[in-house]
Each structure stands twice: as C-alpha cells, then as structure tokens.
Symmetry: C2
C-alpha cells in the first residue's frame, strides 16, 4: 500500500475535520483509497489545545511544516491570501505537493503557483476550492476530459443561495435572511466577499482556467452580488416562471472566454432553479454530450475535508500530471460581449403614455420586449408610482447598461432601475 | 507525453463514437488529458465499411485485437455477455487493460474479471457502464473516497425514465410512450431488459460493489420494472406531492447491504423528482457530507464514448490501483429487510363500510395509514367501483407483500392492487 506523509497547516474547523477524518477513517481510506496516511506534522498557531490527539507532532510556527523534510504534501487550510501564499510557495520550492481549499489564493496567484509546481515537478490539488464536498474539479478535468466544454453555470456561493432561498420561501427581507444565515454559521460576521459576488467570481475564474485552458486573471472576471435583489423581484421572477440565483458563468465562443458571476433569472424548469438553501450546483455543457450537473454541499468542515483528502489520495497515486497553463488559442476577455436576455424592473409615475414611452425607448435601441408586466396599483399609498417589469431580448452587457441609463433618464422613471441577467440554458 | 496503444472491439454506434473522438479530438485529448492515443487495431465484424478512416488496421476477427501484442488496452463495446466475456478474459490474461461499457458483463462476471485483472496486474475501466457520460463511478470511488456511503438512489435507465416522463407530461399510455421512445431511438426493438428493471438493477449492483465493498452478486438484487405503472398512479402521486420514478437503490445498515431497483414515489421537493426525459441522475448519501447528486445523459454514442475515453486517460496515468474485491465486513443480502413507506392503489366496490374494513386491516397488521385518498365517483359508468389510494407507514418488503395479499383477499377489493415504494430521502 502507498503511504503519503502529510503536513497540515491550519487546525480550525476545516483543518480539524481533515485531521479527524485522516485519523478516524484511516481504515476506510486504506480500503477505498488504497493509501495509508502518515500525519507528520500539524501547524496550529494555538498549538496543542486545538489538536486533541496523542502522538501528533505539533508546531505553532506554520513555516516549520512547509520546510519539514519528512513532509511529502502540505495541506493548506488556513485561508487568507498572503501568508497562505508564502507557505505554499515555500512548500512547492521544497519539492512538496500542495493541497489547498483556498479559492482566493488560486484565483489570485494560480499562474505563479502552477508554474512553480511544474518547475519543481510537484502537484497542486484544489478540489476543495470550488463546491466543497461536490467533486466538480474532478468531473471537469477527468470525467469530461474527452469533451469540449462550451459553458458552465453554477450556484457556487452557499451563503448567497441560502439568503435567496430564505427570501423566496419565507418572504424574508435580505437583512433578516442574512441574519439567519449568520446565526446558523452559514455567513461570516463580515459576509461581504460572499454577498458581493467575489467568492463566486473567484470560483468561476478557477473553473474557467480548467475548462477553457486560459490563464487565471481575476481582473477580467466581471461580477455583482445579491444585495440589489428585493422581495418584489423574486415575486415577479416567480410570476414569469423563474427563480433568481447567483450564477457563476463561463463561456467559450470563437476562442473568446467570458467569465462572470451575477444575480440571474433561471428558468424554473431547470435543475439549477431547484437548488435551495446553502447547497451548490454546477452545470457543465459540453459539445456532443450536453449538460451534466453536479449538486452537493459547497462548504462546511466535513465536505471540505472530503475534497482535501480526495486530492491527497490522487496525489498518492501520481496526481494529475496536467499542464494547467498549457498553450491554447483561447483568450479570456471581459464579458461585455456575452449576449443574454435581461430582466428590468422600473418604478414609474402612474400616468397615461408612460408604457408607450418606455416601449418606444426599447424600440429606438433596437431591443425587443419579450414580456411585460404591469399590475393594477392595489394600495392607495402607491397610487403615484407603479412597478413595470420587462424581459428584453438577448443583448450585450454594454447594451444592457446603456438601456438602463436611458430608462433612468426618462422623467417618468425613478432612478434605481433593477437589471438582472436571464440564463438561457442549453444551446 | 504518455502514449496509450488502444485496440477497439466494436465499431457500431458506440465504437464509432469512440473512434471518431480519439481521431478528431486527439489534440484536445493531449491538452486536457496529457495523453496521446495510438489506435493499434479495430475489430469490426463488418470490416472496413464501418470504419471510414484511412490508415487504420482493421480485423473482422475480434479475437485478433484481444491477443495483439501491440495493444496496451482493449476497449470492449460490442455488448452482450458471452463473447464479450471471452474477449475480455483473453485480453486480461494477455496482460492488457480493459475498458468496457458493458454493465451486464460487469454485473454478471465482475468478481472473476477483477480477480483476473489483479492477477495480471492490469486495470478494468467501467465508467461507461453506469450513467453513460455522467462520471458517477469516478465521483463514487475517487471524489467521495474519504466518505462512508450510507445509501444511493438513482434514475439509471433512460428508457424507463423517458416513458414515465411522457406518461406524466402528455398523459400518454405506457404503450404509446414506449412507441415514441422506440421512434426516437431511446428504446430497443425488444425493450424488455430496460422496462422490466434488469438494466437498472445491473447498474445498482455495480454501484453497490463500489460503494459498500461487497462482491458482485446479481442474484441478491431484487427488482421490478415499470410495466405496472398506470396513468392513474401518476395522477395520484402528483396529488400527493410525488413523481413516480424507477429508482435503483443501495443501502448499508449494520454491515448489511441491500440492493434493489423498483418503481418508486419520489417527493417533488427533491432533485431526483425533477429528472425528466431520458436523463439519468444518481444521489449518493455519505456520512458527514450528506447528499451529492450527479445528473446527465445516461446513454448514447457520444456520452458513452466520453466515459470510455476518460477511463483510457486514467489508465494511461496509472489507473485506480484498487482492490475492488477487498475484504470487508459488509454482506450483501436480499432487500427484504429494507423499510420504506408504500403507496397502495386499490379498486374497491363502492359500498358502505369498505373504507372502515380496509383501515382496520391496516390496523390489524400494525401498519399506520399516513394518507388516504378517495375521490367522489365522477362518471356514471364507474359507479360500482372506485379507486382508493393509501400511503402506509414504513414497512418491510415482506410486510408490504403480506398486506397486499390481505387486501386482495377482501371480497370488496378487486385483484391487481398496485403497490410502489416511497423514497424517504435524507436520513
């Protein structure tokens, strides 16, 4: 049986789960994985108090682990970018493999890290960086190795999905849904990277590099978070047969790759629309075989540990031996060119001719109106202003922004027009 | 770059797609898989006319491929059991790896084949044998390698799922739905192995061997097909919040493994219930991480070729090196002990006291009634007989059969009581 000598950096929730699984499931891992794990050293700043096992070599200086000559593979689960980057580069230069759950690290330093790994003839595992316990990286680069990926669309931020599900199911406001997520440990005390779309965009960037063989370049990923979504939008979306999800998206067309993460209307007939709570899901559309979808827990100590250990088993067996920075004709560009239908919600003065004026503005810009909803004003308080919801034909990002600005320039339209993408699905 | 010398047996729809992909996507496979494929020989009974490529060594004697000393790996895509078994055992004995899409072969001869492979230090790839282009074998044995699987539930027969979807969406009868499936090439001219549950049960047997480390033993897999499902059942299921799907199921409890494939009511809140048409999906429930779900095309030339080639890439990189027949305490038993709620539909005489009699029969057998539907008789023609639908509490297979027999013994109940399982989902 193969033996892998592991050095673990980080003994928090995720590190603790990795350690617990390696120790308590050692027999299962030998049967299922054919690998025996030797835990050479654990780096934990708080030392022994957070590592409740006997006979483990513990250091409070995490760099010890990265330079320990007995360690074959460094597991980095401390999070954050700067110190993690130092640890990982040290380990790679020392000829150690690395397994990390750190999407921010990969998204921001992926090119250097994979180049360094190649130079030192070692591997980097990062299954846990996207979709946690759901093996989407494995599916993408191994299961679908013989297919050409055209696009992917994923619900990759559990916090955002939980908040949207809460709002949709319980008519909660954004604020109270976020509070509930925090109470349940599904959102951090500062949840900004989750709800402003950064986290999902980083994951999209990683998937795009794998799917389309383009270098990591987070500056070319366009994204927005879910903060602008209001209960009223979820209601109108439902009326039109959609759910609103935060969708990380990547697409290859004519050798141009566009990557983005936006609040998006998803048809209620699709599987993605059915993904609730804090769950993640990724749809990958390949030439010839069409869509495959992967659903599961996107975060949490056990799911993340499961992905980390799956990477360790793969490394014990020789790793992936893939040149992630391989030359390709594909080029990553900002996603301005991507065409998609859009949802617009306008607050307008309830006066004669306003719909005609809005409609002709669409016509002037040569944009079709696919659907329009204007309900009767129900409450006396809102008599002066009504909501109008319009689904446009397929337009580019630039056209969509231009249209929004033009709408807001109309004297009858209040500022703060809502605008969300619509996911077209199979094509 | 690694090179793998491939011998292909079978040049029908699937073999043709394997060959086409290996030839036309060779550059993509080098970039994504890091492997160059050398097509050493193609065995096709009809010879050159079915292999429209120049410079390929073709033989009409398939055994030539299995004994060709230049071949590293034999791809078996001829289907059927007996001759495929001969070819595969010959190749294994000659020290060649094997990749097969043949679930019947693996389900019936798995133990011998994996033993033979081990003795000869070669690998058998069988990703394509379950769920076609959806990499469920890879997810199960690699992605979830660090988890203990408790159960799986899958829609693994595309023909059955297409027929049920047609019946549900278009109110087609079983017969006309089957006819449509045949017209679309989704059902064979003799569809019996698909619609009587054999195909799904074979796949369940393969998944169980992997998930629970038990030997292949198809004689212990209990199954039924979809022939008994009527439009009326789909209607009642919908009323109760369920869809009826053909579910392949495996479960581990107290070291006992039960494997089955039955028509099953699936809660409409679950992803499995949303899997329509000929698509496949597999839900795997693991300790610690809960459910992950894999969805995609379960058959067809391109999806099957995608899975076959993914196996070839894995073999080029060293394979899985797993002892599939490893010793374990788990024991496969017939699934009589599995407890599940049941759906019963009875045709009864519309006379006073009949519901009371049926209810007390449930009470006598100590089985709870979770739901009961009896609609008013609407048409004058059916005044003498009405349908009664009952959802029972959780009972074993034996109890369910005993209850059905007792119900049919009542003079007021017509014979032909329908009985389907209900899938409980997470636990």
């Amino acid at each position: 049986m193969k033996t892998l000598k592991v050095g673990l950096c980080g003994a928090g929730n995720v590190g603790g789960a990795v350690l617990r699984t390696l120790i308590q499931s050692s027999q299962l891992l030998e049967v299922q994985g054919g690998v025996h794990f030797d835990i050479v050293q654990v780096g934990a700043r708080r030392g022994k108090e957070v590592v409740p096992y006997e006979g483990i070599n513990i250091t409070t200086n995490l760099e010890d682990v990265a330079t320990n000559p007995d360690v074959d593979v460094l597991v980095e689960v401390i999070g954050g970018v700067n110190f993690a980057y130092e640890l990982v580069t040290t380990a790679l230069k020392e000829g150690k493999h690395v397994v990390t759950a750190n999407k921010a690290l990969i998204a921001s330093h992926g090119n250097e890290l994979f180049t360094l790994a190649k130079e030192n003839n070692v591997e980097i595992g990062f299954e846990a960086s996207v979709a946690g316990g759901t093996p989407v990286i494995k599916a993408l680069r191994e299961g679908l190795v013989a297919t050409k990926v055209k696009w992917f669309a994923g619900i990759l931020n559990g916090t955002s999905n939980f908040i949207l599900t809460e709002m949709e199911s319980n008519q909660s406001t954004f604020e109270s849904a976020l509070e509930k997520a925090q109470e349940l440990g599904l959102a951090e005390s500062d949840p900004s990277l989750d709800i402003n779309g950064t986290d999902a965009a980083q994951k999209a960037s990683i998937l795009a590099a794998l799917a389309f063989h383009v270098p990591f370049d987070f500056s070319l990923v366009s994204f927005e978070g879910i903060e602008e979504i209001e209960l009223e939008d979820l209601g109108y979306a439902k009326e039109l047969g959609y759910s609103i999800k935060h969708i990380a998206h990547g697409e290859l067309e004519n050798n141009v790759v566009c990557v983005s993460a936006y609040p998006t209307l998803v048809d209620n007939e699709t599987l993605l629309s059915q993904v609730g709570k804090e769950m993640n899901a990724l749809e990958i559309f390949s030439e010839g075989i069409g869509s495959t979808v992967y659903y599961g827990p996107g975060a949490g100590p056990e799911p993340t540990a499961s992905a980390v250990i799956a990477d360790l088993v793969d490394i014990a067996k020789g790793g992936w031996d893939l040149d992630i920075n391989s030359d390709d004709q594909n080029k990553l560009e900002v996603s301005d060119r991507k065409r998609a239908a859009r949802y617009y919600r306008l607050q307008v003065n309830d006066e004669p001719g306003v719909i005609a004026k809005i409609s002709s503005l669409f016509g002037d810009q040569n944009i079709s109106i696919e659907a329009l909803i204007q309900h009767e004003a129900k409450s006396k308080e809102n008599l002066e202003s009504i909501s109008v919801v319009i689904i446009s034909g397929e337009i580019s990002n630039n056209e969509a922004v231009k249209l929004k600005n033009a709408l807001e320039d109309l004297p009858e339209v209040f500022s703060g027009v809502k605008k969300f993408r619509i996911h077209a699905g199979e094509k």
